[in-house]
Symmetry: C2
Subunit: 324 residues, 2 copies
């Protein structure tokens, strides 16, 4: 079982075929950044057309059982997630509606302050807001996983503490390895693991030591160090692969509709676009190479299987849907 | 010229006739609390039907000149405002659209954290957000007045500092007189006045010393003390009159869609509804009584005219529309 904890490709038959070639059995796909409710529904409609057009390659999944069934049928299971809370607008009632429509992950904030929590690019981080506490409780009730990948430190720690169910950081790396605003402190990673949460390691160059020139060995040594910190059962992959996207998409991800100016986020005026992927992970077909790399730094076969998919599957089995 | 800096009545011919009886020449009316863009447009449609039905009583105004023309024609000028930034959703481009549709005031936050600033009921106040700074600049550009009536202290001070144009606190009283979360510190009131801003005194019982039993004399003495602090040219009335509203409306104001529970705000489980208005200000017909009260505590005729309307008119003349 191989699972990717986050991708946002320019979806196409090519990408879906590469998922099958790479043996990627399930992917958490971003269906919304700054899209509000109605626009998110339109994005789901687009996915429905993909499911109708490529039934031999992909299928929608909202439970661990559906992921197992997809694998048995040689299809890649597609799990919906949102990178900002924009799809729920200012309406707590939309949490359950979005879950019914298939959403299984929602970030509480994305770089900026949201109605719920603070993003990692704000100067100040006051933690969960009044509405944030209410919404986390509602997400816990219906089984919509809290994702704090783009959130700030205190907000993340408060989400871990306030949530009655394990949360995820679907795509980020340890800040101790590569000190980017988007990467996470040991304090956060330890608290995440202690509460049964999951970290997905990102392969987005801005999150990597050495950027696009990061090596497989350095990446896998970082995973080994993180396994020491968190335990090998709390880590997985969340590649953040943005395959075949035009640079206009990274601008939308960063700027949305919150400013009339350009905000380069992790990029810069000199390098405003998507960065080049590292050599060892250019698309879904490179997934098996990660297994080789993990073996190379000493992981057992059981740990490799856990990190490449089974840890995510176990997390999904308890995280998706109402609590028992 | 008599102007009320904020009302949210259950609008009807009765209320419009009482405005004329009380000699209220212009009113900033709330057209949205938690309504998002499309719902706000529906509320403007409702106002358009009022303007069509009662052309002899009310008229829409977006400039000081239109207010003077309305007074000359014996009509009450209606100025649109929003008590939360929900109508602009997450889209800075809606600032200009809302201004074009007639909006002249927008609060950056309402009790809770917004995308822009913090509300006065949050435990923490990190000040203006990244988006908040961008939106204030855009509001400055088009001439949509920043209103911080329901915002928290630091956010309010940062809005005053960051805004290149004078801002308003349309409806609140000094916290030194009545220490409610919604009332404002001397620090805020001084900074507001020093930058040419305006405070509208509220007649909503939860903002009054003695609540519903507050006397005209106590209210007017508070105004006299505030004139000492801010200068008599920076103060006006913002009655916060919520005439003829059912209690379901105060629940909407407090709870919106951010929680599934009841939040009593300034009320309580024992007194969840709208409080009883003070004897001396039950509706728009009591406006002339305020003039008597102000004379009674020693204000000059010029000051009385300023406080009851001319200060607001002067503020509108420079605050509405693009900067010169």
């Amino acid at each position: 079982m191989q699972i990717d904890g986050l991708q946002y490709a320019n979806w196409s038959e090519t990408v879906f075929r590469q998922m099958r070639e790479g043996g990627v059995d399930a992917v958490h796909v971003t269906i919304a950044y700054h899209e509000m409710f109605r626009e998110t529904v339109s994005n789901i409609e687009t996915w429905n057309r993909h499911f109708e057009a490529y039934p031999d390659l992909i299928t929608r999944a909202g439970t661990a059982e559906e992921i197992r069934a997809a694998k048995a049928a040689n299809r890649t299971a597609i799990i919906f997630g949102a990178q900002t809370p924009a799809p729920m607008e200012d309406d707590i009632g939309l949490v359950e509606i979005l879950h019914t429509l298939g959403l299984r992950f929602m970030q509480l904030s994305y770089n900026n302050q949201s109605l719920l929590a603070t993003g990692c690019y704000e100067a100040e981080d006051p933690g969960l807001t009044r509405m944030g506490r209410e919404v986390v409780a509602e997400m816990n009730r219906v089984g919509l996983v809290v994702d704090m990948s783009h959130s700030a430190e205190r907000s993340t720690l408060e989400a871990i503490e306030h949530s009655t169910r394990a949360i995820a950081i679907t795509h980020a790396n340890p800040a101790g390895w590569h000190p980017a605003l988007r990467n996470k402190s040991d304090t956060v990673l330890r608290a995440l693991a202690e509460t049964g949460g999951m970290l997905g390691f990102s392969l987005y160059p801005h999150h990597l030591r050495g950027g696009s020139d990061c090596t497989l060995e350095d990446f896998c040594r970082m995973i080994a160090d993180t396994a020491e910190l968190m335990g090998a059962e709390h880590i997985g992959i969340g590649s953040d692969l943005c395959q075949d996207q035009p640079d206009s998409v990274v601008e939308w991800m960063r700027v949305g509709r919150w400013t009339k100016r350009i905000d380069y986020g992790e990029g810069s005026a000199a390098a405003p676009g998507f960065p080049r992927q590292p050599e060892f992970f250019r698309d879904n077909r490179d997934f098996p190479g990660l297994a080789e790399g993990l073996r190379g730094v000493g992981f057992s076969e059981a740990d490799v299987r856990g990190i490449l998919g089974e840890n995510w599957l176990r997390f999904f089995a308890t995280g998706f849907g109402p609590a028992p």
